[in-house]
């Protein structure tokens, strides 16, 4: 019988290789339909009317004029009079009409009276936020105060990162279509299996089984697309009222205002060490905003480098900047900026290379200490750190200053619950079905590779069915949990199906099922390639009875997967001290994630995370006007994303092989996006000799820091 455990990677023909993503041709030919692209017969277009105020009470809504507009077929109140709206862009009314233009015209005729309420859109100073604060955590371990008093070197600083948005290129939204009591949702979602239950709970349908969610591909989520959302419910209701399918996608401004905001985090930090760099104490007062209801939780500082003696306190600032949603590695990039910046400042104060300071204290990183040490060493080699690094402040003449910075990070990434059905047909065809989704991470490809590897078939011989809630239930794609979940369930299902086939085939090879293996498109006796049957002939022995086997990610510990990764990154920057412009010349990432199934898409995940990291380090910020409470950059001209020419070289090295592969599959989506902010901020400090306290490192902040710090 085939063993479900992972084969050694040197025995694999597909696992661990660089394989192009299965849906690549669908995407690069433009043929695949995203939710936004679905056009159903007789479909209407929905538009939302949203609050222009950051905080207000809806007093009254008059839709009578709008309902008389040409083409209008249905109206749905999303925020009833008497209820409050908590940010600009908060949805109030939805309307559906024959054409997008008619829906837009009609939306303008909806009259909403608001009672404006006080708002707060600044998270800069909790002491000025009055009652809009909530103390979330206070924790003291050991003797931080005493240790900091007695420390030979103490560094103090203030660090942080602003609120940013998810800015998915495919806006949030869906097409809803009814057939009697049954509802099909073509939804751009990270949670295909979870949406039906949510719609049933909201009484959109009488039971969850009446909903089918279809998401073959989706245009980015990054943590902001887990729920059906109010616009999903409204879209389904509009479609019901009109008796016709409705497409309702957010327009770009509302997407940036209302579809997710990454919580900010700032901290005043005091960190102490001996002269040799040994860390002895940490104290931090942190704050940040997770929207009006203080979502996002409290940070666990210091990050990764767990200084035993610490005192931490966190205050949530309740603001109307926007709704907090999980953003790729929730809280980690923010905690990382605070911690790694403080440690780099401390190293500078001691006059120590930060690489040496991190290695000196590596045991404080805990179980992964050896991994971090190896990753820092590898990153240093790829960056040529020892040759390039200089003490704070580039002494080279001219306005352009160069510098290096580093950071380390962690993430869990244990697989989520996952179920897979694998079917082998008598004609030899193989398919696997899971109610999972591919956000662009390579999930579909990973599932295909594992199935094909298990069956000893080429990747093209396997059909992967995902993105449909009628397939076996799978978890939401968040927290880097998908690859572990689907890898385990798929491997188990495929192995179980194969074993049923081996039992059928064994007699014709005069062998026991235990002696058989599936390799190179054949079922053969182990170690005896001459005793073999081609795959198709073997499957023909099934007669008229296909095989279906189920696989499930095991509860608790599952020996195909695990969790907990490290990762080290190093940045090299050039800073123009006359304009304040920062350019990332080179970024190096060394990343572990256990057993890599597809090296190509895994590397792409890391490349992408680094570029996303450069973007949030240098450009991204949700800019709010304190007077009006409005977002000043709810468009792509001023909500800046890095372009193809906005950075230099990127080097990615995946830690694989002995010591890594046997840990099984671990998620990769989050970890590499954690460190860029800290590594780049540290590199800028190293270049110009002063700390720019918060990211994004925009030219105004760089110039202000230079003026304050008076660099040589």
């Amino acid at each position: 019988m085939a063993d479900y455990h992972w084969p050694p990677t040197d025995k694999c023909s597909l696992i661990g290789r660089r394989i192009s993503r299965l849906d690549g041709p669908w995407k690069s030919s433009g043929r695949i339909k995203y939710s936004y692209d679905v056009n159903r017969p007789n479909m209407l277009h929905g538009k939302m009317v949203f609050s222009p105020y950051a905080h207000a009470k809806v007093v009254s809504i008059d839709t009578s004029a709008a309902e008389k507009m040409p083409g209008v077929k249905a109206v749905e109140i999303m925020t009833e009079p008497g209820k409050e709206v908590f940010w600009e862009g908060h949805e109030v009314v939805a309307i559906a009409a024959e054409t997008e233009e008619q829906a837009r015209d009609a939306a303008r005729r909806i009259q909403i009276r608001y009672e404006k309420l006080p708002h707060l859109v600044s998270d800069a100073a909790p002491d000025k936020a009055g009652e809009h604060t909530k103390q979330l955590a206070e924790q003291t371990d050991g003797n931080p105060d005493q240790n900091l008093q007695q420390a030979e070197v103490v560094s103090e600083g203030e660090y942080g990162s602003s609120v940013i948005t998810h800015c998915c290129l495919e806006a949030h939204g869906q097409v809803a279509e009814w057939d009697g009591d049954n509802l099909t949702m073509y939804a751009s979602t990270q949670n295909v299996s979870g949406i039906p239950g949510e719609l049933a709970k909201a009484n959109i349908v009488t039971s969850a089984d009446k909903v089918r969610v279809l998401t073959p591909v989706m245009g980015g989520g990054f943590g902001s697309k887990f729920g059906a959302d109010t616009w999903g419910l409204a879209c389904a209701r509009l479609a019901k009222k009109a008796g016709r399918p409705v497409k309702m996608m957010l327009e770009r401004d509302q997407e940036l205002m209302a579809a997710g905001a990454r919580p900010s985090m700032y901290a005043k930090v005091k960190v102490g060490a001996k002269k040799d760099g040994t860390l002895v104490g940490w104290a931090s007062e942190s704050w940040g905003t997770g929207g009006p209801d203080a979502q996002g939780g409290a940070p666990n500082l210091p990050y990764v480098v767990r200084i035993p003696d610490r005192r931490v306190r966190h205050t949530a600032v309740l603001t109307n900047i926007g709704p907090a949603r999980a953003w790729r590695a929730p809280n980690h990039p923010q905690m990382c900026v605070i911690t790694m910046s403080a440690l780099e400042d401390l190293a500078a104060k001691i006059g120590m290379d930060p690489l040496d300071l991190f290695q000196k204290n590596i045991q404080m990183t805990g179980q992964l200490a050896k991994t971090y040490s190896a990753e820092l060493e590898k990153a240093a080699e790829l960056m040529d750190w020892k040759k390039k690094w200089h003490p704070r402040g580039d002494k080279a003449p001219g306005p352009i200053k160069k510098g290096l910075g580093l950071s380390i990070h962690t993430w869990g990434g244990a697989g989520h619950p996952s179920n897979c059905n694998c079917t082998i047909q008598p004609d030899g065809s193989v398919e696997v079905s899971l109610g999972s989704q591919d956000l662009g991470t390579g999930t579909r490809t990973v599932i295909g590779i594992i199935t094909a590897e298990t069956m000893g078939l080429p990747l093209e011989a396997v059909k992967v069915n995902i993105g449909d809630s009628k397939y076996p239930a799978d978890g939401a794609s968040g927290g880097s949990t998908t690859v572990g979940g689907v890898s385990s369930s798929t491997r188990r299902a495929a192995t179980a199906a194969l074993n049923q086939l081996l039992e059928k085939v064994a007699p014709s090879l005069s062998a026991q099922p235990d002696d058989l293996e599936a390799v190179d498109g054949q079922i053969r006796v182990k170690g005896n390639p001459s005793k073999a049957i081609p795959w198709k002939q073997a499957c023909a022995k099934l007669g008229t009875s296909p095989i279906t086997a189920a696989g499930q990610r095991q509860r608790g510990n599952d020996d195909l997967i695990s969790s907990g990764v490290g990762g080290a990154q190093m940045a090299e920057v050039s800073v123009d001290t006359e304009t304040g412009i920062v350019h990332v010349d080179k970024l190096v990432a060394v990343q572990d994630c256990g057993l890599v199934i597809d090296l190509k898409t895994a590397e792409s995940q890391v490349y992408g995370a680094l570029i996303m990291g450069i973007t949030y380090s240098l450009f991204e910020e949700k800019i709010m006007d304190e007077q009006t409470g409005r977002c000043l950059n709810a468009d792509l001209e001023f909500y800046k994303l890095a372009g193809i020419g906005d950075f230099g070289d990127i080097v990615v090295h995946m830690m694989t092989g002995p010591g890594y592969d046997e840990r099984g599959v671990i998620g990769l989506g989050e970890p590499p996006v954690v460190s860029p902010g800290a590594a780049i901020s540290n590199a800028v400090a190293n270049a110009i000799g002063v700390r720019v306290p918060t990211i994004p490192l925009t030219p105004d902040k760089v110039l202000a820091a230079l003026e304050k710090g008076a660099v040589a």
């Binding site: 995407k27 290129l169 890095a642």
Partner: protein, 234 residues
């Protein structure tokens, strides 16, 4: 905190000033905005004020004939085929393609000429189709309209153009929502630049944005596609 009666507050633009401008939507908006705690507004969806102007001001074209604001019959020359449709004069080429012809590869992302996800090729040049009105590229006065090429016309279904194939090979796509726009920008660029360097590619594709961060793959894909296209495979 909110301040009342702040003259700098955009909600308090004077009624007089807006009467002069004469824009119906703007005036409605201002008329209904109160200066006290209770305010009302006819909602405007930001970013589409230009389109609304078209509904109140009939468009006059070359022949002197007044057309619109209702749907106008027109013919677009797309991928070598004449496509007939009837859309309002304010409808963008992007919306005409996506909503009326089911050619949905060109994506709507920023809808205002910034991100490049809607890039198609018109008369041999890459354009943001969100920033072109369909009527402006349609047949006109008996003369054929512009030559419009979308990614759907690059290769027959089931086949890949060299540029698309190089995007697959170099994994120059993740979620893939920006990819059709990138492929079309790349195709238009390579049609006139046979030997691009990576530095040139950084300039040439600066008008397309990706959120997943696939730019490294794109840089390599363009260079590979250039080699393939020179080799006569496309």
């Amino acid at each position: 905190m909110t301040k009342q009666n702040d003259p700098k507050d955009p909600e308090h633009s004077s009624k007089e000033e807006n009467k002069k401008k004469g824009g119906l939507r703007r005036r409605d908006f201002v008329k209904l905005v109160g200066g006290t705690g209770v305010a009302a507004t006819a909602q405007a969806l930001a970013g589409h004020t230009l389109a609304s102007a078209a509904t109140t001001m009939p468009e006059v074209v070359g022949s002197g004939k007044v057309i619109g604001p209702g749907p106008v019959a027109m013919t677009l020359r797309i991928n070598g085929e004449a496509k007939k449709l009837a859309v309002e004069p304010r409808v963008t080429l992007l919306d005409a393609l996506r909503n009326h012809l089911d050619l949905t590869a060109a994506k709507k992302v920023c809808d205002r000429g910034t991100c490049g996800a809607c890039t198609i090729i018109v008369n041999g040049k890459p354009v943001y189709s969100c920033s072109v009105l369909a009527i402006d590229v349609a047949d006109h006065d008996g003369k054929p309209g512009a030559d419009i090429r979308t990614i759907e016309g690059l290769a027959p279904e089931g086949k890949l153009h060299a540029v698309s194939a190089s995007f697959v090979d170099n994994d120059a796509q993740q979620c893939g929502f920006c990819t059709p726009g990138f492929v079309m920008s790349c195709k238009a660029y390579l049609d006139s630049h046979r030997n691009p360097t990576v530095e040139e590619v950084k300039q040439a594709l600066g008008g397309n944005l990706c959120r997943c961060g696939t730019y490294l793959g794109v840089r390599n894909a363009v260079v590979q596609a250039a080699m393939t296209m020179k080799g006569g495979r496309a």
